[in-house]
Symmetry: C2
Subunit: 489 residues, 2 copies
């Protein structure tokens, strides 16, 4: 075994050993752990935010908000664990006299699947990284976590990891329930995904990175689930009534959404679509004027800004693509220049490259000939995290066909809002058909994110004292259960 393979083997064995203890603990105990992590992050908030500011170029308010979101997520999972119904308990009691065969007592609930490898995300040093939603949901599920710190904010990751370890010790858990891996490079990630003790993977980042991890996991002798959230261009359909009624308001909204956090959100609106005409011309000018005013700002790191300029340049070179506005002629090193371009519906339909993400403050406006072409474009789009309609009531009443098409393309449909700003709540689905993610059936935001790391287990004819608390007839946890086909506590 190579040195690296040896180290990874050691890490995964420790993680597995911790899992064996951790998976036997009650939901209440896991909730204490998550709460302790949140409290520790809050206590060290200033230090963490300041470390993240140095590493990521993100401004203090943005990071303070992200810190609050991270703690909020942890607490939503701990509340879920305390309430307890999330295990989807189903109970069917015995019918010993049934003909022709007696029916046995069967009970089912969700159980954790094993050690989970999580990759920190470059664009969210807290909320999608070390103590972020992948870690929080895996720990809530009862899985141990091996976290590969993102090299772009390793000091922040290290600080948060130390707090998680302290919280584990304080809660009386095995220390290895969370292991932080700091080693840089691609090989370590690959080795973690390929290790036989790894049972699932969480990743947020580029298509190439997320798809590579997915492919490694499928080539194992035991394939495992990989939840890669890989980006999206989040199409926004601007309908004519709305463009006529409120071009300024929409331009304000979208200039802000396209450039928020220098466009470094997976829900950034990278594609605007509308039918050409005088109202679109007005809106285009309004939007261009606003984007022109927004100064270039530092991106997360050198790699991201290089990739932004290279993909932007590639996009602008495509047939029929016209630059409408860029906030600055210069491309200041490490900074993202807000950019808006346009293309005809026909040229867009003919060129699949125009559906590729340009990660940063870039948006392409597609000017369709008519509503029919707009519908045709919608039907041809690859899978998305979100899709948005901007319309007056009259626009929306005539949009049944468009909504029908988009409801098969995206994980979240939005009316008269912006896709950026992913609310953390049970009704949020953050996911979507491939290539937005590798598995459209699961969310990486909200308490349902826990479902990625559990599987059902049935207990047949178990005596009451050997059943988990969740399945005992007396329902000592007072959770909602499907009991002989009726929902009850």
């Amino acid at each position: 075994m190579s040195d690296l393979a040896n180290r990874v083997d050691g890490v995964m064995r420790r993680s597995r050993a911790a899992f064996e203890t951790y998976r036997t603990l009650t939901g209440k105990k896991r909730a204490e752990f998550l709460d302790a992590i949140a409290a520790a992050i809050e206590a060290d908030s200033a230090l963490i935010v300041s470390a993240a500011m140095k590493e990521t170029n993100l401004p203090e308010p943005r990071l303070a908000g992200e810190r609050a979101r991270t703690c909020n997520q942890l607490r939503q999972f701990s509340a879920m664990l305390r309430e307890g119904s999330w295990v989807e308990a189903r109970i069917d009691t015995a019918l010993p006299d049934r003909q022709p065969l007696p029916k046995p007592d069967i009970r089912k609930m969700l159980v954790p699947i094993g050690p989970v490898v999580v990759f920190g995300a470059s664009n969210f040093p807290m909320a999608y990284s070390t103590a972020g939603v992948d870690t929080a949901s895996a720990l809530a599920a009862g899985c141990s976590v091996v976290l590969k710190g993102h090299p772009a904010h390793l000091e922040t990751s290290r600080m948060v990891a130390a707090l998680i370890s302290k919280a584990a010790t304080a809660t009386g858990l095995p220390a290895d329930v969370f292991i932080h891996v700091e080693e840089p490079g691609f090989e370590i990630g690959k080795a973690l995904v390929l290790h036989p003790l790894t049972k699932a993977v969480g990743f947020t980042g580029s298509f190439s990175g997320g798809k590579a991890l997915y492919d490694y996991a499928q080539q194992r002798s035991e394939p495992i689930p990989v939840f890669s959230e890989m980006g999206s261009i989040n199409p926004v359909f601007l309908l004519s009534g709305a463009l006529t009624a409120r071009p300024t308001q929409i331009a304000d909204q979208y200039a802000a959404s396209i450039t928020q956090s220098v466009g470094q959100f997976c829900t950034n609106p990278g594609l605007l679509l509308s039918v050409k005409g005088s109202e679109l011309e007005v809106f285009k000018k309004e939007l261009a004027a606003r984007m022109q005013q927004i100064a270039p700002a530092p991106m997360l790191h050198e790699g991201i800004s290089k990739s932004f300029y290279s993909k932007r340049s590639e996009a602008l070179k495509q047939k029929g693509v016209h630059l409408i506005v860029q906030a600055s002629e210069a491309q200041p090193e490490g900074q993202g220049v807000p950019t808006l371009a346009s293309v005809s519906g026909k040229d867009f339909l003919a060129n699949p490259h125009l559906s590729e993400e340009v990660f940063g403050p870039y948006s392409l406006l597609v000017e369709a000939d008519n509503l029919q072409e707009l519908l045709q474009i919608a039907a041809q789009l690859p899978g998305q995290l979100t899709s948005t309609l901007i319309g007056e009531d009259s626009d929306l009443q005539g949009s049944a066909a468009l909504i029908h098409v988009l409801s098969d393309k995206a994980g979240r449909l939005i009316i008269n809002g912006v896709p950026t700003g992913v609310e953390v709540c049970p009704s949020m689905h953050h996911g979507g058909p491939f290539p937005a993610t590798t598995d459209s059936r699961f969310s990486s935001v909200g308490i349902d994110a826990v479902k990625r790391f559990v599987r059902p287990l049935s207990y047949q004819a178990f005596p009451e004292d050997l059943l988990p608390e969740e399945l005992k007839s007396s329902n000592p946890l007072g959770i909602w259960r499907l009991y002989n086909n009726e929902w009850c506590k």
Copy 2:
């Protein structure tokens, strides 16, 4: 395009077109369809059972039972659709005054993923084939289905397919919501899995077949979920108290379970494990005597019996494996001879081939040196559909460690029963860690099987009249929903 590719392309386009209509229909309409299929199968029961008898060698009572199970499954899904809560509706209402940012109204529910390709299973000509649980759950989800009829019972499949089509027409659905593909051979299956319009695959059969389909699906440019249920040896741990107290009863139970339907169940107990000693010797004799009495019987088809003898012969050749009993010296053509063999714990631990399934009336008895070795064997087992403990109360009280290990190995744990006989009810999990299935998180039996073919979709800030019925504030369907974090109707 080759002829075959052309035909598959035509089939998948028709299926997709039907899906576009079918996915807009209400749960009630889908329920009518499933009920109509069940009623049609019942009306033609005698004809179907008689066709299946000719094709499969299965006896009339077994097929009559399977026919009843098939209709029961269809009706459980229609009841689920009529009740409606299965869509997992979550609603979080707006907080327009929230600081620092207003919270939008978000609502989420499960929606169908698209056309599903289902492969008929050789060992269940009805319940896991044409109108079986994969088809029923996909249709319940709102997906269209392309069914590849199993060549071993194509006439039965054709009859049931005709009834489904009749039911579709009678319910006013597009005829192509269900398409029956009769073409034999491996290439057609591969082409169906690889077609870009296919969104998921259901399969029950051999490891080699199921894994091949899985691999094709992962190599597509858009990977899709494949639910292959691929077999299992269903370990049964015989504890000493039980062997002492009731050797005859257990021998009766297991002689029947091992040979039921000529061992052609995926839950067949292919592995018995116990600690050696005098009580095991007594049990072994009892079991052998009973199995000796059970005459060889015709297997499903020539291919299955050939495979049984070749795998049995391979297993019996392994180091340390001793034949205890076979019901007949002869290996009558096409028939399965009930066979029991034994091996020491040490030889079993050293040889992974002994954990491979011998599909048919065969079971291997592992004689461990002590409880510790039994535990070591349990820990080394590959993933299973089921695992069983046979024990007195005193045995079970001392089995916490064994139950702990097995709860990470199997989809269903059974106490003092047999693994054969898969009850159709919400608490049943029929699935298990790889290699039992390709995705341990989903069941292929019970109403939760529908979850394989749906994904969540969030609606943000939708006006009431554009929301699906399931998500309207007025809750016109009266379903259970998580509404601002509270379960209510």
